[in-house]
Structures are given as structure tokens and as C-alpha cells.
């Protein structure tokens, strides 16, 4: 099991594209692959390639300096669309720990936190400043999850992350364990439901 984290230092790459959806992050045709085979090679599979199927040399993630990237900075609406958690697996398996963008798909943001991946929300302006700082080349960056900031050289930008998700990543909480602590309360709810709204249970 992975452990939680509070700070991360890694290489940040600019991905100045709006609306990178989960179909792009993890194309559907690879989704029947068992996870233990690793999803890194599927990350942005088609977007990284030209029409002939070759890796496009100028796509940010294909540049040699981006090989060890662990932080992505993108434009708004990152991770919209399909609920496929495989999109997060592809990022995580490729070594990505944090994605910084002005907005995220709701389901994606939840999936990310469940896998220790930070989806950090910044303003449009700050995203623009971070992208500008990374325009010529990927650069080392520091993510401070507790303080809620990312620093690239002398540029420091504050980000937002839902408090529940922040704590989940820091503590590597597992929801099933948390919820099973309340099993008595759940059982009581179910019992009450059977008495007050029995129609809720499917007839067969």
C-alpha cells in the first residue's frame, strides 16, 4: 500500500491544453488491460502521437527533459467526461503526483484523491503564470500540500483542494476502513428503511 504525503519535489511540465478529458488520458480501447500490467504507456496515448502513430517530438510530455515529470500544469476542465478511474491509474503509473489546473471534472477529482494524486485548483491567471514559467522547459517544482502552494523558482502560487481530499492524500485514508467503523449506524438505517419505506427494496 502506498503511503500518504505532505510535500513533493519533482519536475513540472506544462500541458497548455484546455479540456483534457479522461478519454484522452486513457483511451477506451486499452481499458480491458489488467492494472498489474501498468497503465503508464497508455497515458495520453493518442494525444501524444501524430496521425501516423509516432510520438510527436514537440508534445510536452515527449520531450527528453519531461521523462521524469511528476507534476502537470494544464488549462481548465482537466479530467472531465467518463468516470473511468483508469485515467488516474495512467497518471499515477506514469509517476504523476500532482495535476495543477483551473478546474477539474468532479468525478476525476474524487478518483484522484482515492489514489493519492493531487488535483490542485488554481486561478486561471495563476495557471497562466505557471504555464509561462514552464514554457521554455520543464522545471523543478515544490508542492506543499499542507500549506496549499506550488513553487517554481521564484514563483509561488496558492492552490485549492477540497479539505476532505487533502486529508485523504496526506493520511492515505481508506474509505472502506473509515466507513466500516460505522457499520452499526448503517445497519440501523437499513432496518428503519425496511420499516418506513419497504417499497425501496426491489420486488422480484
Amino acid at each position: 500500500m502506498k503511503s500518504g504525503w505532505t510535500t513533493h519535489r519533482g519536475i513540472a511540465v506544462a500541458l497548455p491544453i484546455e479540456g483534457i478529458n479522461t478519454d484522452q488520458l486513457m483511451p477506451a480501447r486499452f481499458m480491458s488491460t489488467p492494472r498489474d500490467q501498468g497503465y503508464a504507456k497508455y497515458l495520453l496515448h493518442d494525444l501524444r502521437r501524430d496521425s501516423g502513430g509516432e510520438l510527436a517530438p514537440d508534445f510536452p510530455l515527449n520531450r527528453p527533459e519531461a521523462g521524469d515529470a511528476s507534476i502537470l500544469v494544464a488549462r481548465r476542465n482537466f479530467g472531465g467526461g467518463s468516470s473511468r478511474e483508469a485515467a488516474v491509474y495512467a497518471l499515477v503509473d506514469a509517476g504523476i503526483r500532482a495535476v495543477i489546473a483551473p478546474s477539474f471534472g468532479d468525478i476525476f477529482a474524487g478518483n484522484a484523491a482515492n489514489n493519492g494524486l493531487l488535483a490542485a485548483q488554481v486561478t486561471e491567471q495563476d495557471a497562466g503564470r505557471l504555464l509561462a514559467a514552464l514554457e521554455s522547459a520543464p522545471a523543478p517544482a515544490d508542492v506543499d500540500l499542507e500549506g496549499g502552494s506550488i513553487t517554481i523558482r521564484d514563483l509561488r502560487v496558492a492552490f485549492n483542494v477540497d479539505e476532505v481530499r487533502r486529508l485523504k492524500i496526506i493520511n492515505n485514508w481508506d474509505d472502506i476502513d473509515l466507513t466500516r467503523n460505522h457499520s452499526a449506524q448503517i445497519a440501523a438505517y437499513r432496518k428503519r428503511l425496511q420499516i418506513t419505506r419497504p417499497w425501496v427494496f426491489p420486488r422480484d
Binding site: 484546455e18 479540456g19 478529458n21 478519454d23 484522452q24 483511451p27 477506451a28 480501447r29 481499458m31 480491458s32 489488467p34 492494472r35 493518442d46 494525444l47 496521425s51 481548465r76 476542465n77 472531465g80 467526461g81 467518463s82 468516470s83 473511468r84 478511474e85 483508469a86 488516474v88 478546474s103 471534472g105 468532479d106 468525478i107 474524487g110 478518483n111 482515492n114 489514489n115 477540497d162 479539505e163 476532505v164 486529508l167 474509505d175 472502506i176 473509515l178 466507513t179 466500516r180 460505522h182 457499520s183 449506524q185 448503517i186 438505517y189 437499513r190 428503511l193 419505506r197 419497504p198 417499497w199 425501496v200 427494496f201 426491489p202 420486488r203 422480484d204
Partner: protein, 467 residues
């Protein structure tokens, strides 16, 4: 104090507890599983856990189901493995399983309602974003990821951060030949693909209450394309009439109790929404998408955007989308030639959708190839009983089996690279229908019209005297 919204009421009735951090633990009434559930079953097995409520969990094969052959020997290896895995997991946990050979098989979001599994007042989850479809019944339909699926399997509950509320009101009535798909694309085009992010939508207004259940399902289906967490329509007489007598729906005294509750289930007059959007239904024309995001949508009467007239930040995205789609800036949308059509999916694969497409196609020929895949095997049987299959076949379209099919191409039904498809599905992302495929989203009437003329066409012209 102001009243409660429909959403507030449903949330309250499902909350088991609320944590200090604002997350609620909600009871899940129905859990639908598709082939993608293999990740979650794996997580469950890793921990040696059993399913908490097998009788509230239903397995459905849809994404990988081949629609062109029933013969398993002809399926591709992916389809076989994924469908077999689901069947094995369902058997192992004692779940009701709608497999490819089941006469009630279909897309999860079509058969849930069809079987009476979807009822007003419930909370339904599925590891699929279009679970929002079930909101048409006044139910909370939440799409979730694999970790959450495993959580529901183990506990029959879900932890959710409460979304904000958004009411989208359609005042007035739609014109002839305009439907729920056009309403959906209209609001998404207006506020953007992330415009409803973090919100639970309630659709309201005369044009919404006038919709059939099929129409309401289409409208709620596309909620996610505007970034919303879920979409809903308050239940009414139309809802209750649809549900009555379905296989898993309540009967006898339970039915009476349910109807009493459903009749009260709506937002209070004085309820406050966090946000509100109002559209005039009468102004909505048939919509078509031109780009690679669902908000790249325009009335069929409009011209394509021109990056030269847009601010720099918007121009780049438009240029890229036009480039991928192989379209020329500024040209009229109508008249764009298409290579093929696809009629089906959980957005528009229900009987009414097929009836409408057939109305356009009746005694006409399609001049491009096309695939018609009913949303379920029961929809297929119904369509055949009404002779709709004959209309499609005589027009020259292929009448296939039911499943997700060409909406996502996982079963091998794909659009070839560079080909342009007029589709009734809900996603026009790059490569969604196959690598390099170019998708235009539209209503079933519009897709049928495109089949007849071979180009994007205002379906109203072909529906004259036919409605």
C-alpha cells in the same frame, strides 16, 4: 426559512451520517455494475470482503457487447474476456446478471428504468458517468470511480461531498422537430462543458414537464457533459405511469405507499437554488456539435466559428478543434458532408428515439451507411414489433443488436480514422468513436436527416407533414 429543493430532500433521506468535514455517508438503493467493475471486484478480493447487499446490486454487460453477432466464437478477445469476467464475478457473488444472451440485456442506463429498478426517490450509483440518466425519475443518479464502486460493494454506502444546486428552467414550449437532445446541447453550449461543475441540476419549466420519460432521460443523461454531478426532473404523473407494472417496481400496498411519497417529491415553492439558468424553449433550434467538446455546439442554422474573429485564448482551441474535425472556419454548418451515421447509446437509444428517426427515414433512402443499435434488447423487440427495423433496413441502414456500440467503440464498432459520423451519442471527444474519428452529436431526427441527405441537415425540413 426558505423551503427545500428536491435535491435537499433526497439528500436528507439518504444521509446516514455527516462527518465534521462536510462529507456525508449516504445509503445506496441500487448499484449497477458493468464490465468495468473488474477493478473494483479485484479490490474487494484483495481485502477478502463480500458484497454487502447482493440483492441491491445488478450486473449488466453493455460496453463490450458485440452488436453484430451473437456468436461468441466471432467476438474479439477483449469482449470475451470482459464479458466472461463480469459473468463470473456476478455468479460468484450471487448477483442478478443481465448477460449478452438475456432478453432483457441492454445499456445499464436503459434497462434500469425499463426493469423498474430505477424509481423516484432513490439513490442509484454506477461506475459510469451517465448514471445521471436515472435522475429523470427524480432520483439521485451518481457516476462513480472504481475505488468508490468497491466502497459501495463493501458497505452499500457512498461518501460524498455535497454538491451545490442549480436549476435549469426551460420556459415556453419547444418547436416541432426540436427535442431533449437539443435542449441539452443548448444549455451546455451556453455555459460550457464545465459550466455546471460541482452542481446537482434540477431541470424545470413547461418544456421539461412536457417531455416523455424518454426525453427526460436524454436531458438528464447529458448533465455530465455540462460538468454537473447529476441531473434530475421531479416525478409526476408521467413518471408514475412509466414505472407502474415494471418487473422490479413495487406492487400492491407498497406501490400505493410509494406513489403517496412520489407525489410529494418536488422542490418547495420557496426553495432556494445556489444558481439558476433560464432558457426560452421556443428559441431552441436543432443543435449539432462541430468540435471536440460537447459545448462546441451550435444551432444547425449557424455558421462555424472563425478563429480570426476570436480573442487569442479562444482562437487556439477553436483552430485545433476545426483542424481535428477537418472543417473550414466560418462555413455554414448545414451542408457539411458526413460519411456515416450512428443511432443508439444511452443518450438516444430508446424506443421514442428510434420512432423519431424512423419517421424521418420512412420511404426514403440513406445515401451514407449507418448503424442503428437499440439501447436494449427489449427496445429492439419493441421496434421490430412496430416495424421500425424494416424502415431502417429499407433505407439501407444496418439494424444491429443492443449495447454501447459505436458510442465508445469498445466492442469493435468503430468509426475509421478521418471519417465523419453523425451520432446520437453524448461524447464528441477526439477519438471517442475510434482513433481519428470525427463525431458530430445531434438528435435522432437530425442523424436520420443526415443519413438521407448525406450532410448535416435541418431535420425540420424532412419532418414537415410527418409530425
Amino acid at each position: 426559512m426558505s423551503g427545500q429543493t428536491l435535491f435537499d430532500k433526497l439528500w436528507a433521506s439518504h444521509a446516514i451520517r455527516t462527518e465534521d468535514d462536510g462529507t456525508s455517508l449516504l445509503w445506496v438503493d441500487r448499484h449497477l455494475l458493468t464490465e468495468g467493475s473488474h477493478h473494483a471486484f479485484g479490490k474487494l478480493a484483495e481485502r477478502g470482503l463480500e458484497l454487502a447487499e447482493p440483492s441491491l446490486t445488478f450486473a449488466v454487460a453493455d460496453h463490450y457487447v458485440p452488436t453484430r453477432t451473437q456468436l461468441k466464437a466471432q467476438w474479439n478477445a477483449d469482449s470475451r474476456r470482459m464479458i466472461d469476467t463480469l459473468e463470473r464475478n456476478a455468479a460468484r457473488h450471487g448477483l442478478r446478471h443481465f448477460g449478452p444472451a438475456d432478453p432483457r440485456q441492454g445499456i445499464a442506463h436503459v434497462i434500469g428504468p425499463e426493469q423498474g429498478l430505477t424509481l423516484p426517490g432513490l439513490l442509484i450509483v454506477c461506475g459510469d458517468s451517465h448514471t445521471s440518466t436515472h435522475g429523470a425519475f427524480g432520483t439521485l443518479g451518481l457516476g462513480i470511480g472504481a475505488t468508490e464502486v468497491a466502497h459501495v460493494m463493501a458497505t452499500q454506502t457512498i461518501r460524498v461531498v455535497r454538491p451545490k444546486t442549480l436549476r435549469i428552467r426551460f420556459d415556453g414550449m419547444l418547436g416541432p422537430g426540436v427535442g431533449a437532445k437539443d435542449m441539452a446541447l443548448a444549455w451546455i453550449a451556453q455555459i460550457g462543458a464545465d459550466g455546471a461543475r460541482g452542481h446537482a441540476i434540477e431541470y424545470a419549466g413547461d418544456a421539461v414537464t412536457a417531455l416523455s420519460m424518454e426525453g427526460r432521460m436524454t436531458l438528464c443523461n447529458l448533465s455530465i457533459e455540462g460538468g454537473a454531478r447529476l441531473g434530475m426532473v421531479a416525478p409526476d404523473a408521467i413518471t408514475i405511469a412509466y414505472v407502474e407494472g415494471r418487473t422490479y417496481a413495487p406492487a400492491g400496498p407498497h406501490w400505493d405507499a410509494a406513489v403517496r411519497e412520489w407525489t410529494e417529491l418536488r422542490s418547495d415553492e420557496d426553495a432556494d437554488f445556489d444558481a439558476e439558468l433560464v432558457l426560452q424553449a421556443g428559441d431552441i433550434a436543432p443543435f449539432v456539435t462541430w468540435g471536440t467538446s460537447p459545448d462546441d455546439a451550435l444551432p444547425i442554422t449557424a455558421c462555424l466559428p472563425d478563429p480570426a474573429t476570436l480573442p487569442a485564448d479562444k482562437a487556439e482551441k477553436v483552430r485545433e478543434a476545426l483542424d481535428y474535425m477537418g472543417l473550414e472556419a466560418g462555413r455554414p454548418l448545414a451542408g457539411t458532408p458526413v460519411d456515416q451515421v450512428f443511432i443508439g447509446s444511452c443518450a438516444n437509444g430508446r424506443i421514442e428515439d428510434l420512432r423519431l428517426a424512423a419517421r424521418v427515414l420512412e420511404s426514403r433512402k440513406a445515401c451514407v451507411p449507418g448503424l442503428v443499435s437499440p439501447g436494449s434488447s427489449l427496445v429492439k423487440a419493441q421496434a421490430e414489433a412496430e416495424g421500425l427495423d424494416r424502415v431502417f433496413r429499407e433505407a439501407g441502414l444496418e439494424w444491429a443488436g443492443s449495447g454501447c456500440s459505436m458510442c465508445v467503440g469498445m466492442n469493435g464498432d468503430i468509426v475509421a480514422p478521418g471519417k465523419r459520423c453523425a451520432a446520437t451519442s453524448n461524447r464528441n471527444f477526439r477519438g471517442r468513436q475510434g482513433p481519428g474519428a470525427r463525431t458530430h452529436l445531434m438528435s435522432p431526427a437530425m442523424a436520420a436527416a443526415a443519413a438521407v441527405t448525406g450532410e448535416l441537415t435541418d431535420a425540420r425540413q424532412l419532418l414537415e407533414d410527418r409530425l
